[in-house]
Amino acid sequence: MKLMTCPVNGTRPVSEFVYWGEIRPMPDPDTCSDDEWAAYVFNRNGAPGVKKEWWCHTPSNTWFIAERDTEKDFVLRTYLYGDDR
């Protein structure tokens, strides 16, 4: 059984969670180039590595961020949005 640790509810089976994709900061559309904007809109980074991702603990609807190594499928840490210190 794969486990995920919710920052509020603790360690639970991953079946209680949904994955909502990598966090992708939006470039400023007023100042970025067309190439940068097109890359943000159309391109996704499929290369394995350590990524920040949105996850949600569905029974309590707790959204949080997981730093996950997608190559080794290993969760480095999880925290609530704004608690990244």
Binding site: M1, N9, R12, P13, S15, E16, S60
Partner: protein, 212 residues
């Protein structure tokens, strides 16, 4: 004053199994499911408590507003307390509360008759509410949920997934031993109830009515 105005979210799945019906809090509920209810209740009884009135409030001003209405609030999220009259007050998040009346209680009706205060938002609740009783309930929970309920003691409550359904669960002490209370979205209630009744059947338990 005893007219049926509400039906349980579990009505459709309970109707084929029900023997006698009654009315509680103006909801049509199953009084008895047939012979052997006392044994089922002592082993692994799955009871319907959806008839209890409940309501939710959320918002930054919710705790202060509830306190002003004479309702104490739990100090920690994911915890609950029981008022002297039996009313359950559960804190589901930083600023979200669930209030459930004891049988015959009028707290939630009084609450909803008040205009909500500033930054207080009513949350209508249409949960399916279950009550699990009996000596085989720990085994039932081990088979249906990944959460270790042996670590759950009042005043803590837990939000977890049981047979794939998101539930809020807590344990209460009673004269007959610990009682597990569950709330889930009403539209999932029938599936949850049927599945738990089937698993409980293997443990010598099953459905019990409100008059069991």
């Amino acid at each position: 004053m005893n007219a049926v105005l509400r039906i349980s979210p579990l009505f459709d799945v309970q109707a084929p199994l029900a023997r006698d019906w009654t009315t509680r809090e103006r909801m049509q509920v199953v009084a008895r499911f047939g012979a052997g209810e006392a044994a089922r209740r002592a082993s692994a009884g799955i009871g319907d408590r959806s008839f209890l009135h409940r309501t939710g409030v959320k918002g930054a001003g919710a705790a202060a507003w509830l306190n002003a209405q004479g309702i104490d609030t739990p100090a920690q999220p994911n915890s609950f307390l029981q008022l002297a009259d039996g009313t359950l007050v559960a804190r589901l998040g930083l600023t979200e509360y669930l209030i459930e009346d004891a049988p015959g209680g009028t707290r939630t009706a009084a609450l909803m008759a008040q205009p909500p205060g500033e930054r207080v938002y009513p949350v209508p609740r249409f949960d399916a509410a279950l009550e699990l009783t009996g000596t085989q309930i720990p085994e039932l929970l081990r088979q249906t949920c990944a959460f270790d309920f042996s670590t759950l003691a009042a005043p803590a409550l837990v939000m977890t997934s049981m047979v794939g359904v998101g539930v809020t669960a807590l344990t209460l002490d009673s004269a007959d031993g610990p009682v597990v209370r569950l709330w889930c979205d009403g539209t999932w209630g029938g599936y949850l109830w049927l599945t738990l009744v089937e698993v409980a059947g293997d443990l010598g338990g099953g459905a019990v009515g409100v008059e069991a």
